[in-house]
């Protein structure tokens, strides 16, 4: 991983020095184990602060919305797809961006690691494919693939789909993964069980909207859940309102979601709201052969019409 970080620093410093960009958006070292902080670097001298390891899960496309500067941005596979989505949706211009692509080997699920050890974590070190977790007088080693985020486990686009520079050779893609095993599991339930499944899923939601705020797709100036005229949803912790929020938000992301996992990663309660978005992602793939953000030429399925679109549900 060290080479990734070195290359990122070198490219960023160069872009800034040659005045090709006003800032570079990347990650700097966090104050806790398994945490890095998104940051912007404006001076070539500060490029040394940039880091790269398996704790860069936050989708940096979120930081581009409506920015006017010339920006260098570090992008892994999912970030690059959301950058494309941003470009399609006029949230940023391609000309503003210099994309530094990072072939991604997957991001660590901090919660999974913390729950897998019975000590307070003081330090986490990555060595090749191993993750070494250290506490006061204790140590445990994991294979990195055991502690990946769930969306990273089934990722088939780890390489950036759009970039100006690449920090390394593209990584091999595992095409054999079963991307939708979890969705099928729900699809196979009967109606009542499905209802209960989502009821349990959302039972501890505190309506903080971290999922929405971290989502690179959720940039509406006023979210439907905050609207007061008309007021679509109540604002309390009522279960029906809570479900209404998650359900509608997922719909708003249909055909746009790249399964980057930001929503789940940032949830303070660890709720897997990808259970909603992934179903729609699967439907988009099956019905429209669509995967979001692979290029900027094709319009997403919900804003284009094709006579061959499936319509069996219309009677």
């Amino acid at each position: 991983m060290l080479t990734y970080a070195e290359k990122i620093r070198e490219l960023s410093a160069q872009l800034l020095r040659e005045d090709k960009v006003d800032m570079v958006i990347g990650f700097r070292k966090g104050s806790l184990p398994m945490s890095n902080e998104p940051c912007m670097v404006k001076n070539p001298g500060d490029a040394d602060k940039l880091v790269w390891d398996s704790n860069c899960g936050v989708n940096l496309a979120s930081y581009l919305t409506d920015r006017k500067e010339r920006i260098g941005i570090i992008a892994k596979g999912c970030d690059s797809r959301n950058i494309n989505t941003h470009i399609i949706e006029n949230k940023i211009k391609r000309e503003q961006l210099t994309i530094i692509g990072v072939p991604c080997t997957g991001m660590i699920d901090k919660r999974k690691v913390s729950n897998s050890v019975d000590f307070d974590i003081i330090e986490v070190i990555e060595e090749a494919d191993k993750v070494i977790v250290k506490g006061a007088g204790s140590e445990q080693t994991f294979d990195k693939k055991e502690v990946l985020r769930k969306n990273c486990e089934v990722c088939i686009h780890p390489n950036p789909v759009v970039y100006d520079e690449m920090v390394a050779e593209k990584v091999d893609i595992n095409q054999d993964v079963d991307r939708y095993a979890d969705v099928r599991e729900v699809e196979e339930m009967d109606s009542d069980d499905r209802w209960q499944y989502f009821e349990d899923l959302l039972s501890n939601c505190i309506r903080c909207y971290a999922c929405r705020n971290a989502c690179p797709l959720c940039y509406c100036p006023t979210c439907f859940v905050d609207e007061s005229q008309p007021q679509w949803l109540g604002k309390s912790t009522n279960a029906t309102d809570t479900r209404g929020f998650h359900f509608l938000r997922a719909y708003h992301c249909a055909g746009r979601c790249t399964d980057c996992g930001s929503c789940e990663t940032v949830c303070p309660m660890g709720i897997n709201m990808r259970a909603f978005t992934k179903k729609l992602e699967k439907d988009c793939l099956e019905n429209f052969e669509w995967q979001a953000g692979l290029n900027t030429e094709q319009r997403p399925p919900l804003d284009s019409f094709n006579p061959s679109d499936p319509d069996a549900f219309v009677k």
């Binding site: 109606s191 209802w195 309102d241």
Partner: protein, 48 residues
């Protein structure tokens, strides 16, 4: 909706031209019947 656990027969889509009165009647009758058969909705209904 269906995926989330709302009964499948509560939601219907149909394409009816203003000239298709018979089809309209058929669809409305069928929708009414299927919803009646399900009884009052208990899911996604906000308690007072």
């Amino acid at each position: 909706m269906e995926h989330m656990g709302i009964e499948k027969d509560r939601l219907h889509f149909s394409w009816i031209s203003s000239a298709e009165a018979t089809k309209f009647i058929d669809v409305v009758t069928q929708v009414t019947e299927s919803v009646k058969a399900l009884g009052p909705a208990k899911k996604f209904v906000k308690a007072g």
